[in-house]
């Protein structure tokens, strides 16, 4: 037992904060600041769904985000716990272990990109490295500006950002999502006017992609195996103008509710797909 404790709990030095992340967006934000957490939640899924930033194997998996393993969390002896109001109901128990830093990324009528920048500065301030946050923000904005320029030829058409659920439905990302916010930073128009519609059973029928026939359609996370055959044979899907004219492309997995790195990852994957001509 003592051995186990020792192996996990390295002597805490004052200058290196031992950060444990409950929230994924916060985990990404910490990584963006160059802080590798000692522990974080749901790493199996994070590595598959969020893909980047690349987490070293040394990060301890704390289990579920909504019900982290408190004993393991305690063993990692964090000096700061990163959470978000989504997990507000366990905050009393978290703060019994270490101080909690919690900030909203997704809230009604707020631009998630702005919120992620605010979280970046907030966290950097908490960790005493405000200058790093400025550098990270400047680098991100510079990269976005560059991509915005690259994507100038693609401003001719609006873009639907979707995630295909089954052969009849998809999830839609509106202006209130990270993808929507980044899309407008890239100078592109979101073809989806409504708000984000995201749940397990994809809520939006395919025909709702019809109102803007001149658009491009981007599907995040590829096409799931369940939908593949059905989509191939679907008359409606194949007659959607963007699909029929080859203005449809899939891009890799991204955490749809991530922080600044997720936003950048989306911008990069989108730029890649468009400039390589995958979406017409």
């Amino acid at each position: 037992m003592c051995g186990a404790l020792a192996s996990l709990a390295l002597p805490a030095r004052a200058d290196t904060p031992r950060v444990a992340a409950i929230d994924w967006a916060m985990l990404e934000t910490a990584m963006a600041l160059g802080i590798v957490p000692v522990a974080a939640c749901e790493l199996i899924r994070f590595r598959a769904d969020a893909v980047t930033p690349d987490l070293p194997q040394s990060v301890v998996d704390l289990g579920l985000r909504s019900a982290p393993n408190f004993e393991l969390l305690q063993l990692t002896r964090p000096t700061l716990i990163l959470s978000s109001p989504w997990y507000g109901y366990i905050e009393p128990r978290l703060s019994a272990i270490a101080p909690v830093f919690s900030q909203t990324f997704y809230f009604a009528d707020k631009d998630p990109w702005q919120k992620s920048i605010e979280a970046l500065h907030g966290l950097a301030g908490q960790l005493g490295i405000p200058e790093t946050a400025n550098q990270v923000e400047a680098a991100a904005l510079a990269e976005l500006a560059q991509m915005r320029e690259t994507l100038a030829p693609f401003r001719d058409r609006p873009v639907y950002i979707t995630q295909i659920g089954d052969p009849r439905h998809f999830r839609a990302f509106g202006a209130d999502s990270m993808f929507g916010a980044v899309l407008s930073l890239l100078g592109l128009t979101n073809a989806w006017d409504g708000s984000t519609e995201y749940s397990f059973a994809a809520p939006v029928p395919l025909e709702r992609l019809a109102p803007k026939p001149d658009a491009r359609i981007i599907a995040v996370s590829g096409i799931p195996a369940v939908a593949e055959q059905g989509l191939r044979n679907s008359v409606l899907w194949n007659r959607l103008e963007p699909v029929a004219q080859g203005r449809f492309a899939t891009i890799g997995n991204i955490n749809p509710f991530g922080g600044l790195p997720a936003g950048l990852r989306f911008a990069r994957l989108l730029t890649n797909a468009l400039t390589q001509g995958h979406a017409g």
């Binding site: 037992m1 186990a4 404790l5 192996s7 996990l8 749901e42 199996i44 899924r45 598959a48 301890v60 998996d61 704390l62 289990g63 579920l64 909504s66 019900a67 982290p68 393993n69 408190f70 004993e71 393991l72 305690q74 063993l75 989504w86 997990y87 109901y89 366990i90 009393p92 128990r93 019994a96 997704y106 809230f107 009604a108 052969p167 009849r168 439905h169 999830r171 519609e197 995201y198 749940s199 397990f200 059973a201 809520p203 939006v204 029928p205 395919l206 025909e207 019809a210 026939p213 195996a225 369940v226 055959q229 044979n233 679907s234 008359v235 409606l236 899907w237 194949n238 007659r239 103008e241």
Partner: protein
């Protein structure tokens, strides 16, 4: 004259459907045969989207109506239908399992998979029913339990893939959105086969209606007719599950409408129920289309029909035959010195608690905690253990009270509806206020649970109230809550996720104060229950006997229901809406020989404590460091064993 409602609702359905088509008919209607290449996009939407949708709503409604009618006639049970008997849930579980574990099998077609799941669920429910003379309420409760287990198993499967948040919403209702004619043609074939089958079975079924003996003397093979009819009903429901998903309660409503319109003989019900079902679902889908067209939320039609179920069951309550369930067998052992055994259980609980406090798992193996780590862990571990144990005790106590009160071995807190009410209260507050505080939300859950409890109490207070009505009222409230929640999940907003987090992770939010309060409540309610023990021993003998012995029957019943409801509500906040502990523990206690009411209550309570401690350990260790939801783990552990127990024929 009542029959005029059928053509009127047909006109309504067609009107709604036509109105929803307005945005696309500017260029007229496309006429079959359709050639996709030569149609404009508006016409594609009409020809391959809106037209098959209108027809599939009729088909699905007709199939479910026929399925429900067959089941109700064969089982002579006016509340039987594919959803109340767990058939649809079984089919849905099979489909979710294949989607998660072996998606490539889906290429072979969804119908065989759905049929397998539906048959498995039906076999279990029929098995439980067969041991209890197919008593209507008992059958429905068995079906509800199978459905609850199926949905928790589906959640566990999704959870095992790491899709944590989604694991709790896999149970969404079926959507009728279409993108081609394939599903429609399949269902036309299914309805054709089903119609011929029902036509052939109509006469034998009417003869069966007389009485099994008469039918036999008329040269009818009763078992064959029943078997074929049930199999046909199962196949019809499975074809719906396979093509559009879960469409709840249409099969329950359609035969009820048919009877309300004057259908009496089985043959009449068999041909009117499909028509009623088709029109009902069409009108529902028309309303969904209208709401969506007006810029409202897109709800899956299958989830909307779920809303019918609860009120309909309450309406059907007085129409149930007043048959008491088959009497309890007294062949179970009767312990001579129950006090000794109670002490053994109590000591064992404390020892188990002590052991579980000491043992832990770390990334590199198991460990017995030393003094230093114990001091470190205790503030985290002790509340959770005490909370779990108290919740188990409370649920078991509630289950024992309900089982004795209703003299129904399938009664349990899971079907009482209190937890469903609490969840609705929580969700309601979340959706009505902009930024509710934690205190407001807890209050919302409490009020919701109390309202459900009041509604159920009203049902027992009514004239000629029988305890089995209590169970059915509970089932009604539970199913209403389930469909409201699944509708909110289908909306897929940020608030949906907040509800999910509450439904799943509430155990991790437990503080020392909360655990202490739960333990205090357990002790208080146990003492109260023991004081009422005499009532509980006499009430099951019937109101006449009880009155003769000087017991205020109404007061006693209400007190018991309140006690059970309070215990359930408090425990639900920790373990979620189901766990089967409340159902299992009283049975185990009975098998251990606790026969007297007070012994039975105490024994059940202690066994509930033990079961939940074991479940808590399992939930924390099975997929370390991923904690599983406590209630989910408990039900996965308990359900197979419970089903085996219930399948045994009472002596």
């Amino acid at each position: 004259m009542k029959i005029a409602i059928l053509p009127l609702s047909f006109l309504l359905a067609v009107g709604l459907w036509l109105a929803a088509a307005q945005p696309w008919v500017t260029g007229g209607w496309p006429l079959p045969p359709f050639h996709a290449a030569s149609l404009s996009f508006e016409h594609i939407l009409l020809a391959y989207g809106h037209m098959p949708r209108g027809i599939i709503a009729l088909l699905v409604g007709a199939l479910l109506g026929l399925s429900g009618a067959l089941l109700q006639i064969v089982l002579r049970n006016p509340i039987a239908d594919p959803s109340t008997l767990g058939i649809s849930a079984g089919a849905q579980l099979a489909l979710v399992a294949v989607t998660v574990l072996a998606p490539e099998w889906l290429a072979w077609g969804r119908w065989p998979i759905a049929m397998f799941g539906a048959m498995a669920a039906l076999a279990i429910v029929m098995g439980i029913g067969a041991a209890r003379a197919f008593h209507p309420v008992t059958m429905v409760i068995a079906g509800m339990l199978v459905a609850l287990f199926a949905s928790s198993f589906a959640a566990a499967l999704t959870l095992a893939q790491g899709q944590y948040l989604f694991s709790l919403v896999v149970w969404n209702g079926g959507s009728l959105v279409q993108t081609g004619w394939g599903p429609t043609l399949t269902l036309i074939a299914a309805l054709f086969v089903g119609g011929i089958g029902a036509a052939l079975l109509a006469r034998p079924l009417s003869v069966l209606g007389l009485a099994a003996e008469t039918a036999r003397s008329l040269g009818l093979n009763v078992a064959w007719v029943r078997g074929l009819a049930v199999l046909l009903a199962c196949g019809l429901a499975a074809s719906v599950s396979a093509t559009v998903g879960l469409v709840a309660f249409v099969g329950l409503a359609a035969p009820a409408i048919a009877r309300a319109l004057g259908a009496r003989k089985p043959a009449q019900v068999l041909w009117m129920a499909p028509i009623a079902g088709a029109l009902l679902l069409s009108v529902c889908d028309g309303l969904v289309l209208t709401i969506a067209g007006a810029g409202g939320e897109m709800f899956p039609t299958g989830a909307v029909t779920g809303l019918i179920g609860g009120p309909l069951l309450l309406w059907l309550l007085p129409r149930l035959r007043a048959t008491p369930p088959p009497a309890h067998s007294d062949a179970l052992p009767r312990r001579q010195r129950p006090a000794l055994m109670l002490w053994v259980l109590a000591v064992f609980s404390i020892v188990l608690l002590a052991i579980l406090v000491m043992v832990g798992r770390l990334p590199d193996g198991w460990a017995l905690l030393d003094r230093e780590s114990l001091a470190l862990f205790l503030p985290n571990r002790l509340p959770r253990l005490i909370g779990a144990a108290s919740a188990g005790g409370l649920l078991a106590l509630s289950g024992a009270i309900l089982q004795r009160l209703t003299a129904n071995p399938l009664a349990s807190p899971e079907v009482l509806g209190v937890s469903g009410g609490a969840a609705m209260g929580y969700a309601g507050l979340l959706f009505l206020t902009a930024a509710p505080t934690a205190l407001q939300l807890t209050l919302g859950a409490t009020v919701g649970g109390a309202l459900a409890l009041a509604l159920i109490t009203l049902c027992v207070l009514g004239r000629n109230a029988r305890p089995e009505r209590l169970l059915l009222a509970g089932v009604a409230v539970s199913s209403l809550a389930a469909s409201v929640l699944s509708l909110l999940m289908a909306a897929g907003t940020m608030k949906s996720f907040a509800i999910l987090a509450w439904l799943s992770g509430s155990a991790s939010a437990l503080t020392g104060t909360g655990a202490g309060a739960l333990a205090a409540l357990l002790i208080g309610l146990t003492i109260a229950a023991l004081f009422l023990g005499r009532w509980l021993a006499i009430l099951p003998l019937g109101p006449e006997v009880a009155r003769a012995l000087g017991i205020p029957v109404r007061l006693a019943t209400v007190a018991m229901v309140l006690l059970a409801g309070l215990a359930t509500g408090a425990a639900t906040i920790l373990v979620g809406p189901l766990s089967f502990v409340g159902l299992m523990a009283p049975h185990l206690a009975r098998h251990l020989g606790f026969a007297r009411a007070t012994d039975h209550l105490l024994g059940s309570m202690l066994i509930g404590v033990l079961l939940m401690l074991a479940a808590d350990f399992g939930a924390r260790m099975a997929s370390f460091p991923y904690d599983l939801p406590l209630g989910l783990f408990a039900s996965l552990l308990g359900a197979p064993w419970l089903i085996r127990l219930l399948l045994r024929r009472p002596a």
